[in-house]
Amino acid sequence: MTTETPKLRPWTGDRAPASWGLGEGQAIPWEYAPAPEAREIVRLRERYGLFINGREVPAADGATFTSIDPSTEQPLAQVARATPADVDRAVRAARRAQRRNWGALPGAERAKYLFRIARLLQERSREFAVLESMDSGKPIKESRDVDIPLAAAHFWYYAGWADKLDYAFPGRVARPLGVAGQIIPWNFPLLMLAWKIAPALAAGNTVVLKPASTTPLSALLFADLCRQADLPPGVVNIVTGPGEIGMHLVRHPGIDKVAFTGSTAVGRLIAQGVAGTDKALTLELGGKAANIVFEDAPLDQAIEGIVNGIYFNQGEVCCAGSRLLVQESIADQLIGKLKDRLATIRVGDPLDKNTDVGAINSRQQLERITELVNAGVAEGAELYQPACELPERGFFFRPTLFTNVAMSHLIAREEIFGPVLATLTFRTPEEAIEKANNTPYGLSAGIWTEKGSRILMMVRRMRAGVVWANTFNRFDPTSPFGGYKESGFGREGGVHGLHAYVRLEDR
């Protein structure tokens, strides 16, 4: 018997139809098809007003501003620019609703509304996801799989607490604070809205919420949803406009509680604005989280965690793992793997389901990222960016990796709020803890190791509000979230998050 070993023909071309035009040695036709989520599901209006006392109204002076799509720089809609008089109207409406209606409702009744809102959010999730991606620049896979489902989950969770307040704080009676003034950032517009509104409403408060000026649209769509849910007028009020309007809200004497998520600089101003009053205050501010990889870590999954930690939502995440601390013995291997992985990241149209990294939220933010990256290069850190193509229009920034970073470098200290990772090495667990804690911030941290006892030891000694072990950027409504030091105070999520919206009295 003859033993011929037939050679398989190489893959290049021979079987492909001529129409593919594949020749010898040509690149394989492996393209992820643009799979854009249809924009049509969102019926954008030309103009949006403020949402006060259950009605949509223009600003007192009729002024508006434009909200744009950061991935195309095209205007999306004109949005009312609130005046102090509008804020005043909103606060009074909230006060009235709190006294006459919402605060007096039995918890079980409030729960019904919150459950209804959660269900409506789920029903309209695609609409919200597409709008969120259009207005903020975040990839649709994140708004679809993270932002909107989590926002709905927060309403579900706090709806469950509304009729159980008597059991939330044993031995104490929980009373609502009154009217909450809430200011939210542009990185997770609807999710931050949910984090703020759900616990406030569950506890019997009413709210005046100011969304960020670059991302007001999902909050205004939420106003529509409140009407759909038949929420009594004045329980949720939404005022849109620039930062000054937020400050006006903070200083308004009719407010009992201020909740803010955003930068540490603005957080300081807000704390000053509240000082000397009896307003309750929670601040969730910036971060410069350490993501610590030990030599025994599951490396391939650590790579995914690092990528998810810093390139999730273009790195515009207060708890982003922006400092990679890697044990020196595996540094070369890990950085090699990380660079390979970065080459597969897809930057582009936020509405494309295959996009991993979308558009930076605003020109201003893009300029700040660029400035800090230039500073990193000037300081002598080594820059690595994959050679991916960026769209011609819109605010895009390549996923960026710095190696050879020293603790004294600006890029290792300043919160960049962009897809920029600074890599440092350490030799021992002690050194890792020291470097991780050596920052004015203290919001989050990550640990990658197979050793359970080391995780527990590190968690105890890290000055960070959230420590993730062998994962990163995981959120759950039942889990409290918040910072140490200049990352703010107060917790959101869980029963801790409820505590921030009640006054506890003795039975």
């Binding site: 070993t5 398989l8 893959w11 394989i28 036709p29 870590a297 490396l299 995914e304």
Partner: protein
């Protein structure tokens, strides 16, 4: 000078002895397996979930479907296999869609050793290879000499590729040396035939075990590593394939040796096959997108691929009776 050298070499010998004693395994196996990094189950499964959502369409999809056909090891491994069944399968392997010359042949036909000669004869003149399972497939619970003899006989009968099973009993008992030695011996016995080493990941159970077994098999000379026999559930899964692909990637980076991958069992639809190709592409890149380095062990998958190709070309689905059942 010479005395110093002498003393040095004595020291070195002693040090090596101590290392061997420390490893508790002769040779370099200890340091080989000691370098295998851990795998985090949650992380692997999350990564796969993310990759599942990549979307392939139009020309790329058509190319992927065509590639998937060229990557199939069309398989029949049943007690009731007959020469007639094997001939029918071989006819399908060469011309999956009779009358349509644009549809390529599959990579290989995979049969039991006793049917290798029949398959070889039926495939004469085509580029389709004959793969034979061996080494006491599927359990591998037989004598080493039998396994070696079976491998030799399969190659002599005309097998171009040997799909061996590892000794899972020895692996789970911690006797990695036995597993390693057996693969080395089978590789020798297989001679020119390509060796695919089946880990039977469903019995190894943990991803850490899968990764360790992958490195062990690649170091022992496997040309391919393969997930499953198809006789144990779960057979091939995307996460287990990802873990093995990552092991292949790291092994190449460390040693320069390029090893292929074959998920087998349970892959029935074109959609799943494309998901495997996405994971392959994202993990190992375009170099591995060839039947020389990636195979599907499957049988019913072929008809679904054909059906999807017809659908891409014509925009319509044809009924299942338009595709032959063998």
């Amino acid at each position: 000078m010479t005395t110093t050298q002498h003393r040095d070499s004595l020291t070195r010998e002693r040090a090596n002895e101590l290392i061997r004693a420390w490893d508790a395994r002769p040779g370099t196996l200890g340091s080989l397996l000691g370098r295998v990094t851990a795998v985090d189950q949650v992380g692997v499964e999350e990564r796969v979930e993310a990759l599942r959502r990549r979307s392939i369409k139009k020309a790329s999809k058509l190319w992927a479907l065509d590639l998937a056909i060229r990557m199939i090891d069309l398989t029949t491994l049943e007690g009731k296999d007959t020469p007639g069944k094997v001939r029918a399968l071989c006819a399908k392997a060469v011309h999956p869609l009779p009358g349509d010359p644009t549809i390529p042949s599959v990579a290989a036909v995979c049969v039991y050793p006793a049917l290798v000669a029949e398959a070889k004869e039926a495939l004469r003149g085509s580029a389709v290879r004959v793969a034979s399972v061996a080494t006491g497939f599927p359990s591998g619970q037989t004598f080493r000499e039998v396994k070696i003899a079976e491998t030799r006989a399969a190659v002599d009968a005309g097998a171009d590729e040997i799909d061996m099973v590892i000794d899972r009993g020895a692996f789970l008992a911690g006797d990695y040396r036995a597993v390693f030695e057996e693969i080395v011996e089978v590789k020798e016995a297989a001679g020119p035939a390509h060796l695919k080493v089946i880990l039977e990941t469903g019995e190894l159970e943990t991803y850490d075990n899968v990764r360790r077994a992958s490195v062990l098999a690649m170091a022992a000379g496997a040309d391919f590593i393969k997930t499953s026999t198809g006789k144990v559930q779960p057979a091939a899964t995307l996460p287990v394939t990802l873990v093995m692909l990552e092991a292949i990637r790291d092994f190449e980076r460390q040693t320069g040796r390029v090893v292929g991958m074959k998920p087998a069992g349970g892959i029935r639809t074109a959609k799943e096959a494309i998901q495997y190709l996405v994971v392959l592409y994202e993990t190992l890149g375009p170099r591995w997108m060839t039947p020389e380095l990636f195979r599907f062990g499957a049988s019913s998958l072929l008809n679904d691929l054909l059906m999807q190709i017809e659908k891409e070309r014509t925009g319509r689905y044809q009924g299942p009776d338009h595709f032959s059942l063998d």
